[in-house]
Amino acid sequence: MGEAPFEGIVEAHHREIHRYLGRLTRGSAIADDLAQETFLRAYRSWKALPEGANVRAWLFTIATNVMRNHFRGEKRRTRAHDTVKASTREAGPDRPDGAASASEALTLVESVVATLPLKQRSAFVLRKVHELEYDAIGGALGCSADSARAHVFQALRKIRHGLDGRELTAVPEVPR
């Protein structure tokens, strides 16, 4: 991969990779470590990267693997903390009319996302936040583009059901 210094890659992508990992680890400081680990691994192999390779997708792949390894090591992580119930309670008291403000709605969605299995969670964030193509998501997750898409859709269904009975701020509803 050319002679462009690695610092340029860090400069261009660290913020986004860090955000991705932060989102998937629910904003914990672990994201800092995982982002560093991602770039240290990338550093070791970036010279072998073929000319014209998609550096961004490649970094997301490494980040996803680093994170999966991390969670594998933390298998015993209690799931109880991640349940929708516990999290929705954190989201603050329900309004009398049951409607959530924009930021409450966001917190609600994030709390449901946190309960998703890791693959769905990664696929969802890669697609909906970072707008990666399904090919690249499949690459990052070690599955086909179709499976990646299925993960995203499944995540959306779960979010939709997780938010059942909660009013969300209105958005345009007419099909285009």
């Binding site: 690695f6 610092e7 860090v10 660290h14 913020r15 860090h18 955000r19 991705y20 990992l21 932060g22 989102r23 680890t25 629910r26 904003g27 914990s28 400081a29 672990i30 994201a31 800092d32 470590d33 982002a35 560093q36 770039f39 240290l40 550093y43 070791r44 010279k47 072998a48 924009a102 709605a105 966001l106 609600l108 969605v109 994030e110 964030v125 909906k128 936040v129 859709f153 959306l156 269904r157 979010i159 939709r160 938010l163 969300l168 701020t169 209105a170 958005v171 345009p172 509803e173 099909p175 285009r176």
Partner: protein, 320 residues
């Protein structure tokens, strides 16, 4: 959900896709058509649109952690990695597989791997504070120069050297002294020990050279025992030592099976002198190798600016 009409159930994937703007034109139209007539699906569609709207907000929503601090730490760790990074490559060569490695500071290792083809067989794999990374490009030139050297087409390898794989400070000192033994010259372990100011350390010098991480480049093949016996090279590769010496015009012979330099066929230089002599000059033939440097050819002696001895006149004896 269970009570869903089969049509609605079949349409559901398209409905989700249409709601998040990922459906093809035909599917989007089908969904639009359907939700106009089916209130539950319309609600469902609206719901997904709303979620899509909320999810959009995730893009600008902070995700936690301290990005700036993380990046600063990363910069330090990368710098550390850069210092430890050693690029290596294994070349199939006439000497068997040959590993060449270099750091940002200089060439770090030249290693005879024999038949082994992976780094697992190399001392790089066991070295501390070294991070080996396989690399292609830049090592190719070094390999080419080394081959030219072995074929006698090149007399100097002007490489920056990095002695980080030396076993310690003494070894480093020995290596940097041995690195200056000139092309075509032969000295002894005791000679190097004297040069270092440690005349009794000949054995330690031999051990240090035995672990020379840069054979050929640091020409430990130019160092022999005080008797003139080749003694050892890279484990049990005495043949290779003979070969390297012969490339430089130093002939060897077999005495009771063990190779030794043919001292009587070499030009002699006394330590501290600037004139080189015939082996028959005065009592020089009886001097210890620790006090001498020997040359296979006059050309190599004169390349160092040495003059022929005015007493024995080696310049008048073209052949030894």
């Amino acid at each position: 959900m269970t009570g869903k009409h089969p049509i609605c159930r079949d349409l559901e994937p398209d409905l989700v896709a249409a709601a998040i703007g990922e459906a093809g034109a035909a599917a989007a139209e089908r969904v639009g058509e359907h939700v106009r007539r089916c209130p539950p699906c319309r609600d469902e569609f609206t719901r997904y649109r709303q979620i899509e709207g909320v999810v959009e907000g995730l893009k600008s929503h902070p995700a936690g952690g301290d990005e700036a601090r993380s990046r600063r730490t990363l910069a330090c760790r990368l710098a550390d990695l850069e210092r430890r990074r050693v690029a290596y490559r294994i070349f199939p060569s006439p000497l068997g597989n040959l590993l060449i490695a270099r750091s940002a500071d200089g060439v770090t290792l030249v290693e005879y791997l024999g038949h082994a083809r992976t780094i697992a067989a190399s001392r790089l794999a066991r070295a501390k504070n070294v991070d080996p990374v396989e690399d292609g490009g830049e090592l190719e030139r070094l390999y080419r120069e080394l081959m030219e050297y072995l074929e006698g087409r090149r007399k100097r390898l002007d490489w920056p050297l990095d002695f980080r794989l030396a076993r310690g400070e003494f070894d480093r000192l020995v290596l940097s002294t041995a690195a200056h033994i000139p092309y075509g010259a032969v000295t002894s372990y005791a000679g190097v020990a004297r040069e270092l100011g440690r005349p009794s350390a000949a054995r330690a010098v031999a051990q240090a050279l035995r672990w020379n991480p840069l054979p050929i480049v640091v020409p430990c093949h130019r160092v022999v025992g005080s008797s003139g016996a080749l003694v050892g090279y890279a484990g049990s590769k005495l043949g290779l030592k003979e070969q390297l010496l012969s490339v430089e015009g130093v002939s060897t012979r077999r005495a009771q099976g063990d190779p030794e330099i043919a001292r009587e066929a070499m030009y002699h230089l006394m330590r501290g002198e600037t004139e080189y002599c015939l082996p028959t000059c005065g009592s020089i033939a009886r001097r210890s190798l620790a006090e001498l440097t020997l040359f296979g050819t006059r050309e190599h002696a004169e390349a160092l600016g040495l003059d022929p001895c005015t007493t024995c006149r080696p310049d008048l004896h073209p052949d030894l």
